[in-house]
């Protein structure tokens, strides 16, 4: 077993373990921490695939920004909230369906005759290539994504803004 294989298994176990813990832990803060482990080990998996740009982006955005913002959100609201409502039968059924889906997928994926990696190695300048693709071939979706982020920003401002006037007399309120 090669070193990459061992690293893959360790990272895989952390990824899945983090996700499982996130589902089974009761306290919201613990859930987010478990999720952070999943995010970071996915970044590790990207490193193994020699997609270092994706790995850095994953660590920065998911491991950093998303986790921190979620923690902030929890801290600023009800940070000792606990997940109480548990329906055992519902959980069992959901687990069964997911297990069946997973098994089916494994069987199907194993049947795919993957072609051998042909031609140049994948890791040649892949950051540069992502940049080139993004700003040439995919420039339309890229620009659209910037509009999308603008919309999300406007939405966040609207929802989070404290209105100066009381709700009752906020006719025409706008700042």
């Amino acid at each position: 077993m090669s070193g990459a294989m061992i690293a893959f298994f360790i990272l895989g176990i952390i990824t899945i373990g983090g996700a499982l813990l996130m589902l089974s832990l009761r306290k919201v803060v613990h859930m987010v921490v478990a999720l952070a482990f999943t995010f970071l080990s996915i970044a590790g998996l990207f490193v193994l695939l020699e997609a270092e740009f994706l790995a850095v982006a994953q660590a920065l955005i998911y491991g950093g920004a998303v986790t921190i913002i979620m923690l902030f959100g929890i801290m600023l609201t009800q940070h000792d909230d606990r997940d109480e409502s548990r329906r055992p039968l519902h959980k069992l059924l959901a687990g069964l369906v997911s297990a069946l889906f997973f098994l089916g997928l494994i069987i199907l994926i194993n049947r795919v005759p993957w072609p051998n990696q042909a031609g140049e190695p994948l890791f040649m300048e892949n950051t540069a290539n992502i940049g080139k693709e993004l700003f040439s071939k995919y420039v339309i979706p890229f620009e659209l994504a910037s509009i999308l982020i603008l919309v999300a920003l406007v939405g966040a401002v609207i929802l989070a803004k404290q209105d100066k006037e009381s709700p009752a007399k906020k006719e025409g309120d706008k700042a």
Partner: protein, 513 residues
């Protein structure tokens, strides 16, 4: 890529989209410098002018042959133009509904409200005119996120908050499901271009990857059903329709749903088209499976939508369930299209025209009904708000009767003709059981549509004052009445117009360099 190559693309085919973007940007700037307490209704007029200009460019572009920009991340074809015309028309009517003076005064963040509708329309337009999974996805997400904000914008309304949260969570799950399916498609084909995917998937079918391909297509489709609000992702509709302000509800029920259909039809038809050439038995297995799943979902939507609508007392909830059923009807020609794909009969049959016709009919009758809900919604959104409408405003009661008759599918209305075409399409594709379900559920739907009519004519009104509408709502009502009547009385005229102006089958034509 240098500037010269970039400029060599036919950017003018994107002019309608550019107009919408620029109008939205202009509105956001104007909103910033607008006097704080002043009414922002003029902004809606600017938005309407922008939409008008976009329609103009769209019509100018419509007659041209298929063109594309940057590897078909944007494409101009008859299919896209026709759907975009519907979205722009729908958005214009939504703006007219929102121009209602009393409504605007209660609305917080009026400026944002207007330009978020524009960005949502932009998303819908992009989702209708690309042959690349990434652009399609970004388009539909732009539509979704704008809609989430539009639903949540009345943040001091408890119902709106609840529904916005439900909307964003179920929307997020649906997006994840779609992306999961897309990732399998990309993994199997190594491309995001629908035409390349089509070629490689048909190769894959011959290599024995059929089950995985079927799974990928089905999972992607199931995620997309959220936008169509058909089973299994229909549960958000009643809550969100009730919680959102009426113009937004009207927008969600027509434009957002239409964008979902444009995307689903392009995605399924184009990717499956190539597979019709692969081995006979394999193809029949795949097509059989997809047709079965789509038929079951369509049938369930019709049954659930129409039966649950009977028990509603809130007008918007009732219309939400009715819209779930209507989406079920619209899914029937899609299933029929897949069934006919192999024999090439899909080109001969006019299933796409049927979808477009029904969507146009649905636009008029549903937006008309929502315009009336906006009017009486100032008093109450309960069904009893309609009581005695005939005495209070006979013209409006007659208009509403027409919309309800059309939604129910009574002869001489647009809805009837649309349903008739859909039924014929289903029978032509040998989907007899589905056609039967459609007829039965249509009869069931008469019950609640007539329940509303009974309220209008037979019940005593709670207030006896005559009901007057602002002129913008009167315009909407008359446009919708004319549209519903025209499509119902002269359907051939409309179908001919669709056929001569928009070659919907261009959706299958890859751009040849």
């Amino acid at each position: 890529m240098d500037l010269e190559t970039l400029l060599s693309y036919p950017w003018r085919i994107m002019l309608p989209e550019f107009v919408i973007v620029i109008t939205a940007a202009l509105l956001s700037l104007l909103d910033l410098f607008w006097k704080e307490q002043a009414s922002r209704r003029p902004l809606a007029w600017i938005a309407l002018a922008g939409i008008g200009l976009a329609v103009l460019f769209l019509v100018i572009n419509a007659g041209q042959p298929v063109q594309e920009i940057l590897y078909e991340t944007f494409r101009l074809d008859g299919f896209a133009s026709a759907f975009k015309l519907i979205f722009l028309l729908g958005a214009a009517i939504v703006f007219l509904i929102a121009l209602d003076r009393d409504f605007g005064q209660q609305l917080p963040y009026q400026g944002e409200y207007y330009y978020l509708i524009l960005t949502a329309v932009l998303g819908a337009m992009i989702a209708a005119s690309s042959a690349d999974l990434i652009t399609l996805f970004v388009g539909i997400e732009l539509l979704s996120i704008s809609s989430y904000v539009l639903v949540a914008i009345r943040k001091h309304n408890l119902k709106a908050n609840e529904s916005a949260l439900k909307y964003v969570i179920s929307g997020g799950i649906a997006t994840a499901v779609t992306l999961f399916g897309f990732s399998y498609i990309y993994g199997l084909t190594g491309s995001t271009n629908l035409f390349v995917i089509q070629e490689r998937l048909s190769q894959g079918v011959n290599d024995g990857l059929l089950p995985l391909i079927a799974l990928a297509l089905l999972v992607s489709f199931v995620g997309l059903t959220f936008k169509l609000s058909v089973v299994p992702y229909h549960m958000w509709a009643p809550d969100v329709y009730q919680g959102a302000s009426t113009p937004v509800t009207a927008f969600l029920s027509v434009v957002s749903k239409g964008a979902g259909f444009a995307l689903v039809i392009r995605f399924l038809m184009v990717t499956l088209q190539g597979m019709a050439d692969s081995e006979m038995i394999l193809w029949e297995n795949l097509a059989g499976l997809l047709v079965t799943v789509l038929s079951v979902l369509a049938a369930l939507s019709m049954i659930i939508g129409n039966t649950l609508a009977m028990r509603q007392t809130n007008l918007k909830r009732l219309l939400a369930y009715s819209s779930i059923a209507q989406a079920g009807y619209l899914l029937v020609p899609v299933a029929a299209g897949i069934a006919l794909l192999q024999t090439g009969e899909v080109s001969a049959s006019n299933l796409f025209h049927i979808v477009l016709f029904y969507l146009a009919a649905y636009l008029f009758m549903n937006l008309g009904a929502f315009a009336l809900v906006q009017l009486i919604g100032k008093e109450t959104e309960d069904i009893r708000g309609l009581a005695g409408l005939y005495r209070r405003a006979p013209g409006k009661a007659l208009a509403m009767t027409l919309f309800l008759a059309s939604l129910a599918g009574i002869p001489l209305t647009a809805g009837f003709v649309g349903k008739y075409y859909i039924l014929m399409g289903a029978v032509g594709a040998n989907l007899y059981a589905l056609a039967a379900v459609m007829v039965i559920t249509t009869v069931i739907s008469y019950y609640y549509y007539f329940g509303l009519a009974v309220q209008m004519y037979m019940r005593e009104p709670e207030v006896d004052q005559p009901l007057t509408a602002p002129s913008s709502l009167n315009i909407v009502l008359s446009v919708c009445v004319i549209g519903t009547l025209l499509l119902g009385l002269l359907p051939n005229l409309a179908l001919d117009l669709i056929q001569t102006q928009f070659n919907l089958l261009e959706v299958f034509l890859p751009y040849s360099h």
